[in-house]
Amino acid sequence: MKKNPYDPNEHLKSKLDQYKVDIPEFEMKRSRTDRWVHYLASPTKNPFDPLFDTMRTWTLAKVIPVVLSAGVACLQAFLM
């Protein structure tokens, strides 16, 4: 007979029983195009997320482009 280590652990067993999975309908085969579309549609990490972690970096991220464009504009005006 199979030894079941869960017998004295009814609480854990009942918790594990609560983990249900909803199974979607899907066919045995899916085309490569469908897979590619799913891959493209899947969410990805924003590479700038670490920048926006703090208020200071967030402000810098907004200010730097303004300062840079102002600098370029001044440079253009100076060269004309």
Binding site: H11, Y19, K29
Partner: protein, 179 residues
């Protein structure tokens, strides 16, 4: 027609194409739930189940009833495909983090209190053992074949997984009692 999975597999090996459809209907759900509980990713789970059956079609003659059940054979294929996929994803994440699909590594406050959170927090090696043993009722010998690890390692990982789950699951109960 009532046949066992092994009989369907033999029929498929003998050229009965519709036997594959029976095997798919029989194991689609267990395979999906195993992969989903492991990865918590619906797309990966669907892909792995489909790839498993593609691989079964390619290597159908490699299966032999003497080496184990069809269930263990399919779980073994699925587990290997899943691990390869996850490893490939990790590589992509390290090279091009903004192109790799996002994984569910972080847990919400609600998640931490649930069994889903507790299972997801288990180390990968322990997670596979507990999922196969508890949810799929596979004997430890078959788990060792699927994961390609010695039987003793299965036993120790199972024991550690149970201990860790107990710690995770018991804490909220204790807190409830103390309130």
């Amino acid at each position: 027609m009532n046949r066992t999975a092994e009989q369907w597999m033999t029929a498929y090996q003998d050229g009965e194409e519709e036997a594959l459809e029976h095997l798919y209907r029989l194991y689609r759900e267990p395979l999906y739930s195993f992969i989903f509980r492991y990865t918590r990713d619906e797309n990966v789970s669907v892909d792995v189940v489909q790839d498993t059956f593609v691989k079964l079609q390619i290597h159908k003659l490699q299966y032999s009833a003497e080496r184990g059940t069809v269930k263990a054979y399919l779980f073994q294929i699925a587990y290997r495909i899943m691990i390869n996929k996850l490893n490939r994803r990790k590589k992509w994440q390290s090279l091009l983090p903004f192109l790799a699909p996002q994984t569910t590594d972080s847990f919400s406050a609600e998640d931490k209190m649930t069994i889903q959170g507790a299972v997801a927090k288990l180390p990968e090696l322990h997670r596979a053992v507990i999922l196969l043993y508890y949810y799929h009722d596979l004997p430890q010998t078959e788990i060792s074949t699927i994961l390609d690890i010695p039987l003793g390692t299965v036993k120790s990982r199972l024991h550690k997984a149970i201990q860790k789950l107990k710690e995770e699951v018991e804490v909220p109960m204790d807190e409830e009692k103390s309130l």
